[in-house]
Amino acid sequence: MYAQMVKSTGRGVKSPEEMTPEERAFQARIDADEKIEPRDWMPDGYRKNLIRQIGQHAHSEIVGQLPEGNWITRAPTLERKMILLAKVQDEAGHGLYLYAAAETLGVSRDAMTEDLLSGRMKYSSIFNYPTLTWADMGAVGWLVDGAAIMNQVPLQRTSYGPYARAMVRICKEESFHQRQGFDIMMKMAQGSPAQKRMAQDALNRFWYPSLMMFGPSDATSVHSAQSMAWRIKINSNDELRQKFVDQTVPQAEYLGLTVPDDGLAWNAEKGGYDFTEPDWEEFFAVLKGDGPCNAERLQARQKAWDDGAWVREGLLAHGRKRRAAGIAAQ
């Protein structure tokens, strides 16, 4: 998902007998659906795992602004431009809420940014694909935000209080994102033959990368098992992917577009669609840095970080000077 392959302790879930009394009490709180708050005792692994997951999620929101930011100046109407601007601004806010949640675990914002820029921390593979036409703005809102919602809605119930609260805010804002995307797709699909071709082309290019957002099957992953025991992961990747396909295929039909999968078929027995898995080789390559836009995305973040340095430093110095002089806000 926005946090696709988060490593946990890698040791598997401890049995109650293997746990220390503190760990046992902690697990009991989680099992009782209590929220863990920043200053509560928590196992080291829980803290590290969460920093990785929330950090990856935050980076995805921020890097995720780039493919859509690409079209703000070229939106077809002033209204579309304002909508896209508002949507991209929301994503900046999502990044902020999540960075703030991660910071409550004792990691600094700057450290996370540096880890993103050095490649030590990842962001979702989906944002390493280019947005080539205006129809891509439709496909991104409809499919990418749609897939994100699928994952974020259950995370509102995650065990870590600040993360859960950030998710509540984010989910409130996300449904506008998906709907504005679908709205673009409707316009294009009902437009001229050339517009409809663009819509179909956007669906063709974003379908499998969207399925990859859920990450490879994690039915046997020890990392996922631990994350689930700690309730920082609620559903398996396959479960969410299936849900996404089942929800999205009828929407594509409504648009009169074709999902680019010859293997797609309704399976009455399971009450869901059978579909072709994305190319996981491609997924791992993109995650490793070999996607079509990895270098460009990181360059853009690096440039923003470097070019903004004088502003950060200048305002910090100014703030310190004012504080020293005893000048309050107003």
Binding site: Q89, R312, E313, G319, A329, Q330
Partner: protein, 94 residues
């Protein structure tokens, strides 16, 4: 000393007549900018009519371990609640 902008906690009054409520945090170089950024981040959809910002380091808080000694004593003081008292129906509204 850290070169990060200080952390601020943001409180928003949702509607006239309500208290300010904590909505989240942000980094800002000074109070003025914290308010301005708080407005951009936390009130983009009519969520507020007033904002407070407080630098996080100025907030004192109870420790998780104090929960028992601080809050449990009130648990057995049921007589502080109106439901503790049985008033006959005949008395009427009270």
């Amino acid at each position: 000393m850290s070169d990060e902008w200080p952390l601020w906690e943001v409180f928003v009054r949702g509607r006239h007549g309500l208290s300010h409520r904590h909505v989240g945090s942000l980094h800002a170089p000074d109070a003025e900018t914290a308010i301005r950024n708080g407005r951009d981040v936390y009130t983009r959809r009519n969520e507020g009519v007033s904002i407070w910002v407080v630098e996080a380091r100025h907030i004192s808080a109870t420790a998780p371990g104090d929960k028992g000694p601080l809050f449990e004593p009130s648990e057995d003081k049921v007589y502080r609640h109106p439901s503790f008292y049985d008033i006959p129906d005949d008395v009427g509204q009270m």
